[in-house]
C-alpha cells in the first residue's frame, strides 16, 4: 500500500509543504483566536487628564460658566425612546448658548465609549442606558463621573427662586447616588408591576386582583379558560425579580427593602417577609399557573405571547407599552396593576415601585463640563420635559413637567393614575445599581426557582450568600440608605 518515501523530498527539501503550512498556521490560530477579541479591548490610553475647556464668567443665569463658541458632544442611547428628543434639545441648546453640538445616537454605549473613558477624552453628556451601558458603579469607582450636586442646587430655569432639586419627583436624587454623591440624573420616570389587557379582563369578567389570593384565583381561572396565568421574560430573570422584590417590600415594609440595599446579614435569611414572598411566587410555579415555556422565552417573545392573549399577567416597567407598540392589538387596552398584597402587608395595595431610569451623566473628564452641566439643568425645564414626552411617549422626573395638552396611551395613562393613587407610597431598590454581581447572582437563583429546580428556602440561602459577598465590596461602606 502507500509508501512513505515516494515523495520524501517534499517534507525535507525546500521549505514547508502546503499541509505543514496549514497545520502550523492552524496551531497559531488556536492560540490567538479565542483570546484576540478581548485582548484588543484591553489596550487603554495613557492617563492624561486635560483642562476642562474654556469657561465663561459665572453669573446667576449662567451658573456653570458655559462659554460661547465651545463644542458640546452628546451621546444618547437610541433605544425604545429613539433619539429625536435629544436632537430637538441640542438645537435648543445651541440657539441659547451659541455652542456647536455634535450628536451620536447609538445602542453600543460600551463599545463606543469605553475606549474614550480610558483615554481621558469622553463626551460631555451621555445617556448611559440599554443592554450595553457602562455600569454606573464601575464608572463611579473609577472616578469618571462628575458630581451633579451643583446642578441640583442651581436655580431652576422655570422658576429662578426655586432650586432644580425641588422640582424633581422624590427618589430621583437617591436613584442617582453612588457612594453618597449624586452622579447621574435618571430622567425617565418608570413604574413597575403587573400588566394586563383591559379587554381580556372585561370579556372574561375578571376583576383586577388586589391580594395575592385573588391573583392566584385569576390565574387559575385563566388556566381553566385554556390560557396561561402568569407570563414572564424567563431568559431575563430581571423581570421576575421585580415580582419577588416588590412582594418583599410591600409585605415587610420599607425596612425590608432597605435591609437588602444595605446588605444586612438578615436581608433574606431570617426575614419572614422574604420567605413569604418567595413562597407565594413559588405557589404559581407549583400549581402550574405559568404560561407553558415562559421560563425560556426572551422579553419580546413572552410579551408578544401576552399581547396575543396567551397569558393574563406579565411583570414589567412602564416602558412596556412603547416597547410593544407594534405587537399590541388596537383594542388591547393595556392596564397597569400594582403588585397584589400578601396577608398582613405593611404597605397598602396602592404602593408601587417607582423609579427614575435612563441615567444621564456628565463625565468628570469632559472637555466642556460647564456645557454638560448646563445641558442637564435644561433637561429639567418644563420646555424640555414636554419635548421628551411628545417625542418619546413617556414621563420624566420633572414634577408636572408635561404640558396637559399631551395625550397619553392607555397603559401610560393607567400608570399615571396608579402613581397618583400611590401618592407618597412609592419605593425603589438601589442594589441593582450598586452591586451588579449580587444582582446577577439573585437573578440566577430566581431562574432556578421558576424552573422548579430549587425550593424557596434554597433561593433565600443563595440570595443571602450574594448579599454577604457584596458586603465585602469596598463601596459597601458608602452605599447606605436610611
Amino acid at each position: 500500500m502507500g509508501s512513505t518515501s515516494a515523495h520524501g523530498e517534499n517534507s525535507t527539501g525546500d521549505g514547508l509543504g502546503r499541509r505543514d503550512l496549514i497545520k502550523r498556521s492552524a496551531a497559531l490560530g488556536l492560540i490567538s483566536v479565542p483570546t484576540m477579541s478581548f485582548l484588543s479591548a484591553c489596550a487603554s490610553g495613557g492617563d492624561a487628564p486635560k483642562s476642562n475647556g474654556a469657561k465663561a464668567a459665572i453669573t446667576k443665569e449662567n451658573p456653570f460658566g458655559v462659554a460661547k463658541g465651545t463644542k458640546l458632544e452628546v451621546v444618547v442611547f437610541k433605544g425604545g425612546f429613539g433619539d429625536d428628543y435629544a436632537k430637538a434639545w441640542e438645537a435648543a441648546f445651541d440657539k441659547k448658548w451659541g455652542t456647536t453640538s455634535s450628536h451620536l445616537g447609538t445602542q453600543e454605549i460600551t463599545g463606543k465609549l469605553q475606549v474614550r473613558f480610558n483615554g481621558g477624552n469622553p463626551p460631555d453628556v451621555v445617556d448611559d442606558s440599554g443592554a450595553q451601558k457602562i455600569k454606573l458603579d464601575v464608572l463611579f469607582k473609577s472616578n469618571q463621573l462628575a458630581d451633579l450636586t451643583p446642578v441640583l442646587d442651581a436655580p431652576s430655569l422655570d422658576d429662578p427662586n426655586k432650586k432644580v432639586r425641588d422640582l424633581l419627583i422624590p427618589g430621583t436624587v437617591e436613584q442617582g447616588t453612588q457612594g453618597g454623591k449624586c452622579v447621574s440624573l435618571n430622567y425617565v420616570y418608570t413604574v413597575f408591576g403587573f400588566w394586563y389587557s383591559g379587554k381580556l379582563f372585561k370579556e372574561k369578567g375578571w376583576a383586577p386582583p388586589k391580594t395575592w389570593d385573588e391573583f392566584l384565583d385569576v390565574c387559575t381561572k385563566a388556566k381553566d379558560a385554556g390560557i396561561g396565568g402568569l407570563a414572564h421574560q424567563g431568559k431575563y430573570p430581571y423581570y421576575i425579580n421585580v415580582v419577588i422584590m416588590d412582594l418583599i417590600a410591600k409585605k415587610g415594609g420599607l425596612e425590608a427593602m432597605k435591609a437588602i440595599d444595605n446588605l444586612e446579614p438578615n436581608a433574606f435569611e431570617g426575614s419572614a417577609a422574604a420567605l413569604a414572598a418567595v413562597e407565594a411566587l413559588y405557589e404559581v410555579v407549583e400549581k402550574g399557573l405559568l404560561l407553558p415555556g415562559t421560563n425560556g422565552l426572551t422579553h419580546t417573545e413572552s410579551q408578544t405571547a401576552w399581547n396575543q392573549y396567551k397569558a393574563a399577567f406579565i411583570p414589567s416597567g412602564s416602558w412596556l407599552e412603547n416597547e410593544q407598540i407594534k405587537q399590541t392589538p388596537d383594542d388591547f387596552d393595556m392596564q397597569f396593576l400594582p403588585m397584589p398584597l400578601l396577608p398582613d402587608s405593611k404597605l397598602p395595595f396602592e404602593a408601587i415601585r417607582a423609579g427614575a431610569g435612563e441615567p444621564f451623566i456628565v463625565p468628570e473628564q469632559a472637555a466642556n463640563k460647564p456645557g454638560g452641566l448646563e445641558f442637564i439643568r435644561s433637561m429639567l425645564s418644563r420646555e424640555w420635559s414636554t419635548i421628551f414626552a411628545q417625542q418619546a411617549n413617556s414621563l420624566t422626573v420633572v414634577k408636572d413637567g408635561v404640558d396637559p395638552s399631551v395625550k397619553l396611551r392607555p397603559g401610560t395613562q393607567s400608570a399615571v393614575t396608579a402613581l397618583k393613587a400611590a401618592g407618597e407610597n412609592t419605593f425603589n431598590y438601589l442594589y441593582p445599581d450598586w452591586y451588579s454581581e449580587m444582582d446577577t447572582a439573585i437573578q440566577d437563583a430566581s431562574n432556578e426557582l421558576m424552573a422548579k429546580r430549587i425550593q424557596p428556602k434554597e433561593w433565600i440561602k443563595r440570595a443571602q450568600a450574594a448579599v454577604n459577598k457584596a458586603a465585602q465590596d469596598p463601596n459597601a461602606k458608602n452605599n447606605r440608605r436610611s
Binding site: 512513505t4 515523495h7 490560530g29 484588543s40 473609577s142 424567563g234 415555556g293 446577577t440 432556578e448
Partner: protein, 314 residues
C-alpha cells in the same frame, strides 16, 4: 561580488519586506498579549486609566472561582466532543459521497446523488454564527412555538403544558449548543475530506477492491491513513471552535453574556466578558485571559504531538 555578500544582500531585501508585517504583528498581536499580562496583576476596572498593582491576587482568586472552573470543565467537554463528533460524521459522509457507492467493475464512486449532497452539506457553513443563533433559537424555543417542541407535542411525546425548555435545562443546554456547532461544521469538513479523498489515486481503491476489501476495510485501511494530515488539521481547527464558543453561548443562553441557566453553559470566554465589561473586574478578566492563553498553547502542542504519525505519501 562574492557568494556570501550576494546572500546577505538578498537577506536584507527579504527582511525589508518582512519588516512592515512584523511590526504590525508585534503592535496588534504581541503587544496586547503583553499588556494583558501586565493588567492581570492589577485591579483595573476597565473604565479608567488608573489602577493599583495587586500582585498575584487575581490568580489566587481565580483558583477559587467555581464559575470559572465550571466554565473550564465545559470547555474541556466541548474540546473532546466537538472535534470527535464533527470529524467522525464528516469522514463518514465524505466516504459515502466519494467512495461509498456500489463499486462496479469500472471503478470507485460515491452513493447516488453525491454531488447534490455535497452542496446540501456545505450549506450550513455559509451561514454566519449570528444567523445560526437566531435559527437555532427558533428550533429550541421553550414553548410550543419552537420547532422541536412543536414536532414533539404533535407526536404526543411532550405534554404541551410542560414543553421542554431546551436552553433552560441544565442537562441539555451544553449538548444543544454542541449540536449547533457540529451541524455548522460537518459540511465544511466533508468538503475538505472529499477534496483530500479525490486526490487519492483511484488505482489504490481498485487494488483494494480486487483484493476483496469491503467498504469498512477500504475506509480504515486505505482512506483514513491517507487522510490523516487533513484530519489532524481539522482537529486543531475544531479545537479553536471548542475553546471559543463565545458567540453562540452569549447569544443563545440566558444571563449576562450567556452561560445560563445557573452557569450550566458557561465557557471561559463568557465568564471573562462578564467580569471584564459588566462587573468592572477587568484586571481579573485579564488573568483569565492569560490562563486561557496558557491552556490553548498547551492544547495545541498536545494536539499536534498526539496526532503525529508516520507520513504516508502516495
Amino acid at each position: 561580488m562574492s557568494h556570501v555578500a550576494q546572500g546577505r544582500g538578498r537577506g536584507g531585501f527579504i527582511a525589508g519586506f518582512l519588516f512592515a508585517p512584523l511590526a504590525l504583528y508585534l503592535t496588534f498581536v504581541i503587544w496586547p498579549y503583553v499588556q494583558t499580562f501586565g493588567y492581570s496583576f492589577t485591579n483595573w476596572t476597565g473604565q479608567s486609566p488608573t489602577f493599583d498593582f495587586v500582585g498575584l491576587d487575581n490568580y489566587s482568586a481565580l483558583t477559587k472561582d467555581e464559575v470559572f472552573r465550571g466554565a473550564l470543565w465545559h470547555n474541556v467537554l466541548l474540546l473532546v466532543f466537538v472535534p470527535t463528533i464533527t470529524i467522525l460524521l464528516a469522514l463518514f459522509f465524505a466516504f459515502m459521497v466519494n467512495a461509498g457507492g456500489r463499486g462496479g467493475a469500472g471503478g470507485v464512486q460515491g452513493v447516488r446523488g453525491s454531488a447534490f449532497y455535497k452542496i446540501v452539506y456545505f450549506f450550513p457553513q455559509v451561514l454566519s454564527l449570528a444567523i445560526l443563533a437566531v435559527l437555532f433559537g427558533a428550533v429550541y424555543r421553550s414553548d410550543e412555538g419552537g420547532l422541536l417542541n412543536g414536532v414533539l407535542t404533535r407526536l404526543g411525546l411532550v405534554d404541551p403544558q410542560t414543553p421542554v425548555e431546551w436552553l433552560n435545562e441544565p442537562r441539555f443546554v451544553l449538548w444543544c449548543l454542541l449540536l449547533v456547532v457540529v451541524w455548522h461544521g460537518v459540511g465544511f469538513y466533508l468538503v475538505l475530506f472529499s477534496a483530500a479523498m479525490q486526490s487519492i489515486p483511484k488505482d489504490i481503491y481498485e487494488a483494494a477492491l480486487l483484493d476483496g476489501a469491503g467498504r469498512a476495510q477500504t475506509f480504515f485501511k486505505v482512506t483514513l491513513p491517507l487522510l490523516w494530515d487533513s484530519v489532524q488539521t481539522s482537529a486543531v481547527y475544531l479545537g479553536i471552535a471548542a475553546m471559543d464558543m463565545f458567540v453562540l453561548v452569549s447569544t443563545m443562553t440566558s444571563g449576562q453574556f450567556g452561560g445560563g441557566p445557573d452557569h450550566h453553559s458557561e465557557v471561559m470566554a463568557t465568564v471573562l466578558m462578564r467580569n471584564f465589561l459588566y462587573f468592572g473586574k477587568s484586571g481579573y478578566a485579564c488573568a483569565m485571559g492569560v490562563v486561557m492563553l496558557a491552556l490553548t498553547m498547551i492544547l495545541s502542542l498536545v494536539t499536534l504531538r498526539a496526532t503525529r504519525r508516520e507520513r504516508i505519501e502516495f
